[in-house]
Amino acid sequence: MKKLVAVLVTLAMAVSFILPAMAEDTIKIGGIACLTGPAAMYGVGVKNGVDLYVSELNAAGGIDGKQVEVLWEDDEASADKAANAYNKLVQNDGVCAILGPVVSSATDAAADLAASDGIPLITASATAYYITTDRPSVFRTCFLDPFQGKVMAAFTAQELKATKVAAMYKNGDEYSVGLKDAFVTEAKALGLEVVAEEASADKDVDYKTQLTNIKDSGAEAIFLAYYGDVASLILTQANELGMDVMFTGGDGISNITDSISDKSLLTRMYYSDHFTNSADSEIVKAYLAGYQAMYGEMPSISFSATAYDAAKVLCGAIAAAGTTEPDAVVAAIKASSTEGVTGTITYDDHNDPIKSAFILTYDAQGNQVFVKQQDPQQ
């Protein structure tokens, strides 16, 4: 009997030594996303993207033979819950890095804590500018809205071969003015002549006056810093004025098919987006096939792709650093160049990604057509 007890005690001790050793063989990453509530669609999309990458990585042997485990916490898109989730993951679960949160307000709360702890955090979807400001350990894989103005300026110069361009924007609207400023600055830097910058007011329906001025200025392409509803009015009225020009715009344009009546006008419209399922590169096809196999459906939001890339950037950085020690991982992210599904991602001084955007247009029936992946000019 005594012997049996001794054996059991020995075994128990052995197991208690082995268990932490086994735990050392997995790399724990914390995931924070709004998995319930009104923004759940985005949270679930982000989680799906991360889980897809991690399962692929683990199937291929993980990082240096260690499996990667993502522990998810639901923040319900609230800043308080995101902070609680961060504390639980870092203090109780001992994760080495955070992926997420999803919405900007929640991300701000978690990013604040991550920055003071020096824990690396990568969000796939928070587009507010201040998220990464003065927070050296906080990164993102989605680009900021004004970045698209830069990309579209490069596209206008290289692909549309325009030399004279004009821009239209809504006065007093952050999205619109930011986009327009980025476009105009980059267009000038690329040697394009910006012949007109025409403003409009909120809820305007008549853009003929601005268009007449632009027509008079001889612009060959017009950048529309608007959402699709306004862009559809501009396209229709430009056609009425008999203008023979091309139109470009940012991701706000993507709902234009809902509001335009004459779909044939859309063949003149080019716009950028974070991601499209219709891109024809190998890496995108592999991503879509993997997503389809794992979830039985195609990804419906582009943040699944940026989340996939966020996981790839983080895991790549951990592998490159050879450790989960936060400072080393942050330095590795900063120096990384990751070939993701949404383009090759490198980081600028503000920890925002420099990567390509997906340029899209439409056929005469209003179906989305993928044009190319446009890199910003460096």
Binding site: T209, E240, L241, S259
Partner: protein
């Protein structure tokens, strides 16, 4: 010069739409003495009727035009019966507030029924713009200006020459006396609303052809501009409303084109203040002596 002419034509196009809506406004105000703030929203109702008929039911556009005018008329007459008639003897401020209420009721009902997202209006004409030298005039602009002018002339004849028109003027001058003289006041007021709303229906159609996007709040801004045109033209005076509608459109377009986009509304409302300071009865209005 070409640029100036082009901007002038843009202004005439916008102005014609203001004029068209102002005609209905000024008729109702001139005869019933009611500022029908829901007039712009009747236009919105007509636009949705046209979209539903043309897109969802596949009705050809002339039929849809007549049908949406009838919908506007039905709404106008019903609103008059339910909301305005019981208040005819109440202080004027009551019916004014009721009109604002009706306006919000229509907007929010439309939002509930059709959601706040704008719906596209199907293309009706695909006629290339007319070009004279460097000046291009779009077909929609031509059509709107023409329709507005024709309707103004027709309506003016109707009010001045026809029997119903005579009854309308009588009701406008003195409702009590008209009743004593055997004029059917209720019928006359209903007819006025019916005509005003039919005009809103036509206005809705032309507005949608020019700006092919239909939304629950689409009537608010043109309604307000048309109201200003009606006031400035001299309330109840059809040619006045028409004239000021055009002036406002041109002033807006020239300000946007040559001064600043932000200032265009300020200029329009500035005109309102200046005109009312110097001629409170409107541009073509005659000062009325208070009868004692």
């Amino acid at each position: 010069m070409v640029l100036f002419l082009n901007q002038l034509i843009n202004g005439l196009g916008t102005g014609a739409i203001y004029a068209l809506i102002a005609l209905g406004y000024t008729m109702v105000y001139g005869i019933v003495k009611l500022i029908n703030f829901a007039h712009g929203d009747i236009m919105m109702v007509g636009s949705y009727a046209a979209v539903v008929l043309m897109v969802n039911a596949g009705v050809p556009f002339p039929v849809a035009l007549v049908a949406s005018m009838l919908v506007c008329v039905a709404f106008g007459v019903a609103i008059e019966r339910v909301a305005y008639k019981p208040l005819r003897d109440a202080p004027r401020i009551c019916s004014l507030i009721t009109a604002i209420g009706v306006s919000y009721l229509l907007q929010n009902s439309a939002q509930l029924l059709f959601s706040a997202n704008p719906r596209p209006f199907p293309p009706v004409f695909s006629i290339p713009p007319l070009r004279i030298g460097g000046v291009s005039i779009s077909f929609v602009t031509l059509l709107t200006v023409l329709v507005a002018a024709l309707l103004m002339v027709g309506l003016n004849l109707f009010v001045m020459k026809s029997r119903t028109g005579k009854a309308m003027r009588a009701v406008s001058e003195d409702m009590g006396a008209a009743k004593l003289m055997g004029v059917n006041v209720n019928m006359t007021i209903s007819t006025t609303f019916a005509i005003g709303c039919a005009l809103a229906g036509i206005g809705a159609f032309l507005y949608c052809i020019a700006y092919p996007s239909v939304a629950p709040t689409m009537g608010a801004m043109p309604g307000l501009k048309a109201f200003i045109a009606a006031v400035l033209g001299g309330i109840g005076i059809l040619p006045g409303a028409m004239l000021v509608g055009f002036i406002m459109g041109v002033a807006e377009s020239l300000t946007k084109g040559f001064v600043s986009t932000q200032l265009s509304d300020a200029v329009v409302y500035g005109i309102l203040i200046v005109v009312l300071l110097f001629k409170p009865s409107g541009l073509l209005g005659r000062a009325q002596r208070e009868k004692v």
